[in-house]
Amino acid sequence: MLFKIVNLTHFFGGLKAVDDFNIEIGPRQIIGLIGPNGAGKTTVFNLVTGFYKPTMGKVFFQDEEITGLPPHVITSKGIVRTFQNIRLFNNMTVLENVTIARHYRMQYGITSAVGRFPSFHREEHEVEEKALEYLSIFHLDSKIHQPAGSLPYGQQRRLEIARALATEPKLLLLDEPAAGMNNAEALELMHLIKKIAEEFRLSILLIEHQMPVVMGIAERIHVLDFGKTIAVGPPEEIKNNPKVIEAYLGEGALQ
């Protein structure tokens, strides 16, 4: 098993934001995580990636316990995420945004940097080539020297995914990657995600509100409501699950 969460529980003050959450993800699986607003989906991401420390429960990755490790260590283990509200380094160029993701794979120290030793030039050259590879997959290679904040919204979303991929993760957590896109754009993005999952041999855990999108690519879906898992199963089963429909009723998401 690549990734496993056991009995994950988290309190905010007296509020149980995540209640006994369990999940298993195998290699090269795409799993969906859905639920109404405030169901605790993003909190699960924050707990896995080390931004919050869980009140109870354990997280395993490649048979190693990673519960409560800080985010940068989680990333170096091979888990990376994107954010619901885009978090790019706005004043840095598109290229620099991606090279940052390679930071922890680079070796040269402060002395080499200050003295401009050969290792500095070699690694900087390598990282640029590598970053350009990722950018070309997302059709951003014509904009590498623009500040990331100046890109249009859709490209910013793509850049964020490109940046996450550049850390060479084995598990990618996507938090509403299609938010703010229309149906056509969202579907296009999903095809891209499916393609990269195959190409890079990735597993993906996906939070998404646009149902056609999740239903289209996830092989299994977990549904959260008020922190509790109310259903797990393949998309067709989830679509007709009365509990899920009830949870979403009034939001009109299942139409």
Binding site: V80, F83, F89, T99, I100, V114, E124
Partner: protein
Amino acid sequence: MKPTTYTILGLLAFYAVVMVTSAVGLMNDYILRVINLMMINIILGVSLNLINGYTGLFSVGHAGFMIVGGYVAGFMTTLLFGITKDTPYWEALPMFLVAILAAALVSALVGFIIGLPVLRLTDDYLAIVTIGFGEIIRVIFNFITFKKKVGNWELDIGGPRGLLGIPPLSNFTVIFLFTLFTVIFIRNFVFSRHGRACIAIRENEVAAHMMGIPITRYKVLAFVLGSTFAGIGGALLAHFIQLLHPTMGGFMKSVEYLIIVYLGGMGSISGTIVAAAALTGLSELLRPIGELRMVLYGALLVVLMLKRPGGLMGQREFPFLLPERERKIYALQNR
């Protein structure tokens, strides 16, 4: 010729002009003094920019680190090595360099001790702790006195009187070389993976953390490096103006360095150099109006933040200060 060659030639020309004019007596002592002060302020400004501008922290205690370096070096040259005005320069220089090194190390250590616990918390705390640090440094240096034998006299030095009689070891060449070293060091640091990590923390701490950057480590690193160079600047300043006073490490002096950084532009070495030179020159011109200068500084800081938060240069650099690759990108962007 490559643009880097022009930069080197320009620097050599500057050095040669100052040396020759002062040797033949064309250079006014007063102007040379102002040039030296400008360069010391460039060291302090650029190092503070690494902390406040590039890494996005808010240290208000730069003068505190400066004076720690000044006192360490000053105590060493006067008390430990017993250098006086009459010591031949070539004999005193190696000891002076050792004293500067010690000043840098002690400032770095103090920066580490302060930075490590505080930088794990939200950024507001650094501001208050560094202000507090400046004040406590004042209290400590007010308190520490030493006895020194000069001939048959036993003198108290240090304490509220300050440290007097520091030998004038900082000459133009020494200051020039250290300024060059500081600017090149910090420029090369900033344009490397380490500098990128610092800037990423400023831009978006959460995303930087997720991209695998150990944020606390880099915040502490930037803070310690900045403090180290502040210590060097302090050592040079002490041996230039030949006295130190506990109040020089306080809040007021730190604000002057803040103004250099924010006037020049957060995250611009070029801006800091321009602002340090301009403000040093201006404060000499404004000397007749004395304290009103301080009133204006306060107002300037407010107006800058309200009307021009990017300062003079924003985050841009003069092309001649950029490494080759960045210069090409700069040319592409501005075509």
